[in-house]
C-alpha cells in the first residue's frame, strides 16, 4: 500500500495564519494579530509534535460471506501500526440491495473507543458486491491524515430467504428406495394396504390372527411401501419482470421464482426427497438430484447465482427443445412467469411424457416491461397487452393438457394440485 501520512488542510491553515500573524505583529507592530492567531499557532505546534512515525495498514473483513437475505453481519476493520492515529473514519459506498447501519455507511470514531464497525444486511438474494470502502486515519490534533484509502468491495453470497412453506400433499409418483411417501405398491411400510392369504415369504409378524382363526386359513396384513420422491425444479431466468424491492418490498418474477424454489427445495429435503435444479436462461445452471442439508446448501447457492438473461442459450434463441433430463417418477415444478415460448414448450412436453408437471406462475400482477428511452410508450403498452393475451392462451393450452398452473402464495400452494396429480397417477392407464 503506497498511501502515506499527509499534512491536513487544518495544519496548513494554522501554519499559514500563524506565520502571517507573527509577521504582522513583528513587521507592523500590531500585537492584535498575535491575539487573533495565537490559538492557531499553538494548535499548529501541537499538531506538528504529533507527527506520525509508522505507516499503518488496514484490512476490512465481514463476519459472514454467505447468509440469507434479510439477515445481518458486521464489517470489521483491522488496523496494524496505527498507534499514531487518533480518529478512524470509514465510508462505504452504496451497493444495490445492501442496507448498512449507520444508514449512510459512514462512521467516524476516536480510536480509543475502538475501531468502528459497520452493520450490513443484504436485502435481496444473489451475489452482492459491497461498495468500495474508504478508510482514513487522523493523528492527534488533526495535523496528519493517512488516506483515504480505498478498500475493494467484498462479495457476499446471499441465499434466498427461507420462506415459510410446508406441503402435506403426497407426491404423485414416488420411485425411490426409502422415504416418507406412500407408494402405490405393497411393501414393508406402516400404512395399512389390505389382508390376503399368507404366502411363502411373508413375515410371521404380519399374520393377522383374528382373521386367520375366523377363516381357519392363515392371513397376513399387507402394508404400502414407503418411498422417497424426486422433484425437479425448473427456474425460468430468461427475464426478470416487475420491480424488486428486496426482502421487505415488492417481488419481481425472478424473486418469486427463486424464493419459491428455495422453499420447495427445503421442504423436500426436510422430507428426505431428492431435489434437482435446472435453470433455463441466465446462468443455465444444472444441479443433479440429491438429498440432505449439504445438497440443499448447494442448491441455494446455485439459486443465489442466478441472473436473468438469454446469452449463451442456443436452444432459447432457436426455439429448440430445452432438455430437462427428468427421469420417470420425477415431479417437475416449473417456476416461470410464462412469457417465454420455450418454457411453455417444456411444460407441455413433460406433461405429455406423463411426468407429473405443475407450473408455478410467478408473474407479479403489476408487472410492466422496462422500456428503453427511444421506445414509444403507447406502442409498448399495446405490445405488452398482446403479450399477456398470448400468455392467457398458453395458460389455457397447458390446462387442456392437464398441466396445472398455480400462483405462488406460500404454504400449501402446491397441496391441492399435488393431490390431484397423485390421484391421477393412481388411475389405470392405457399405454400405446
Amino acid at each position: 500500500m503506497t498511501t502515506r501520512w499527509r499534512t491536513t488542510a487544518t495544519l496548513s491553515r494554522a501554519l499559514v495564519l500563524g506565520c502571517l500573524g507573527l509577521g504582522a505583529a513583528v513587521v507592523l507592530g500590531e500585537p492584535v494579530a498575535l491575539v487573533l492567531v495565537g490559538p492557531l499557532v499553538v494548535h499548529a505546534a501541537l499538531a506538528l509534535a504529533a507527527r506520525p512515525a509508522r505507516e499503518p495498514a488496514a484490512i476490512a473483513e465481514i463476519d459472514h460471506v454467505s447468509l440469507h437475505e434479510g439477515q445481518g453481519t458486521t464489517s470489521r476493520l483491522w488496523l496494524r501500526d496505527a498507534e499514531d492515529a487518533e480518529q478512524v473514519t470509514r465510508a462505504m459506498g452504496v451497493a444495490a440491495y445492501v442496507a448498512t447501519r449507520p444508514a449512510d455507511g459512514c462512521v467516524s470514531r476516536l480510536l480509543d473507543e475502538g475501531v468502528p464497525v459497520l452493520e450490513i444486511s443484504p436485502r435481496r438474494w444473489g451475489r452482492r458486491l459491497l461498495g468500495h470502502e474508504q478508510v482514513a486515519l487522523t493523528t492527534r490534533w488533526a495535523g496528519y491524515r493517512w488516506g483515504p484509502v480505498t478498500l475493494p468491495g467484498l462479495q457476499m453470497h446471499v441465499l434466498p430467504g427461507a420462506a415459510a412453506y410446508t406441503s402435506r400433499a403426497e407426491t404423485p409418483q414416488p420411485r425411490g428406495l426409502v422415504g416418507a411417501h406412500r407408494s402405490a405398491r405393497v411393501g414393508s411400510g406402516t400404512e395399512f394396504s389390505g389382508i390376503r392369504e399368507f404366502q411363502p415369504g411373508d413375515r410371521l409378524r404380519r399374520i393377522n390372527w383374528r382373521i386367520s382363526t375366523r377363516t381357519r386359513r392363515l392371513h397376513a396384513t399387507t402394508t404400502r411401501a414407503e418411498e422417497d420422491a424426486g422433484i425437479l425444479l425448473v427456474v425460468d431466468a430468461v427475464a426478470d419482470h416487475g420491480r424488486s424491492g428486496g426482502v421487505d418490498g415488492a417481488a419481481s418474477s425472478l424473486d418469486l421464482s427463486v424464493r419459491a424454489a428455495a422453499a420447495i427445495a427445503e421442504d423436500a429435503v426436510r422430507r428426505g426427497d431428492r431435489v434437482g435444479l435446472r435453470v433455463v436462461g441466465g446462468s443455465g445452471r444444472q444441479l443433479s438430484y440429491g438429498s440432505g442439508w449439504l445438497h440443499l446448501r448447494r442448491l441455494l447457492l446455485a439459486l443465489a447465482a442466478i441472473r436473468s438473461g438469454t446469452e449463451g442459450h442456443h436452444s432459447l434463441a432457436t426455439h429448440a427443445p430445452v432438455p430437462l433430463r427428468a427421469t420417470e417418477g420425477t415431479t417437475v415444478v416449473l417456476l416461470t412467469p410464462l412469457l417465454t415460448d420455450a418454457i411453455a414448450t417444456v411444460a407441455a412436453s413433460t406433461a405429455r411424457r406423463g411426468l407429473p408437471t405443475l407450473v408455478v406462475d410467478t408473474l407479479p400482477p403489476d408487472a410492466e416491461p422496462a422500456l428503453p428511452e427511444d421506445v414509444d410508450p403507447d406502442l409498448a403498452a399495446l405490445a405488452w397487452r398482446m403479450r399477456k393475451v398470448e400468455r392467457e392462451q398458453v395458460l389455457a393450452g397447458l390446462a387442456a393438457l392437464g398441466c396445472p398452473v398455480v400462483a405462488w402464495r406460500g404454504p400449501g400452494t402446491l397441496d391441492e394440485v399435488l393431490q390431484r396429480l397423485a390421484r391421477r397417477a393412481r388411475l389405470p392407464r392405457v399405454r400405446a
Partner: protein
C-alpha cells in the same frame, strides 16, 4: 436526526464555520472601526465556501482577510479582539471536525467533546497574549518581546505534547 442528506451535527459544525469569520470581522464595529460592506460580503462568501468544503483553501483566505482587516484598522488591542479570536478558533476547529469525513458523516459525541475541550485549551493563548500586550502597552518594550513571548508559548506547547507521549502498545486493534 437528519436534514436532507446532511445530519444535524454536520449542519451545526458547518454553521459555526460560516458564522465564525463573520463574527470575528463584526467585532471590529464595537472596537471602533466599521469594515466596508464589500468586505463583509467577501468574508461571508469565503466562509460559505469554506463551510461547503471544509478542506478548501477558502478557509485560509477568509481568515486571512479578517486578520488583515484587523491589522489594517490599527485599533490597538481591544477586548473585542478576544471575541474575534473565539470566532476564528471556533471556525477553524469546526472545519477540522467537519473534514473528518464526507458531509453525511455524523459527528460523534466523544469527538465533539474532545475538540470542545481542546478548543478551550487552545483559546487560553489568546487572553495570555492579550494580557501581556495590555500590560506592556504603555511601556517601551524591549525589541523582540512579542516574538520571544510567542516562541515561549510554542516551545511550552511542544514540550507539553511530547510529555503527553504515546500510550498505545497493542499492534493490532479490533472493533
Amino acid at each position: 436526526m437528519t436534514a436532507g442528506r446532511w445530519p444535524a451535527s454536520q449542519l451545526v459544525v458547518r454553521a459555526v464555520v460560516l458564522v465564525g469569520p463573520v463574527l470575528a470581522l463584526a467585532m471590529m464595529v464595537p472596537a471602533g472601526s466599521t469594515p466596508s460592506p464589500w468586505v463583509f460580503l467577501l468574508v461571508t462568501g469565503l466562509a460559505a465556501g469554506w463551510a461547503w468544503r471544509p478542506e478548501s483553501v477558502l478557509g485560509t483566505l477568509g481568515l486571512t482577510v479578517v486578520l488583515g482587516w484587523w491589522v489594517r484598522a490599527d485599533l490597538g488591542v481591544p477586548a473585542e479582539a478576544l471575541v474575534a479570536a473565539v470566532g476564528l478558533l471556533a471556525a477553524h476547529v469546526a472545519a477540522l471536525v467537519a473534514a473528518y469525513g464526507p458531509p453525511r458523516l455524523v459527528v460523534g459525541a466523544a469527538t465533539a467533546r474532545l475538540w470542545l475541550a481542546r478548543a478551550g485549551a487552545l483559546f487560553v493563548a489568546a487572553p495570555v497574549v492579550w494580557l501581556l500586550s495590555r500590560l506592556l502597552e504603555d511601556r517601551s518594550e524591549p525589541p523582540g518581546v512579542w516574538i520571544a513571548a510567542m516562541v515561549a508559548v510554542v516551545v511550552g506547547s511542544v514540550v507539553a505534547a511530547l510529555a503527553y507521549g504515546s500510550t498505545q502498545e497493542d499492534p493490532v486493534r479490533e472493533a
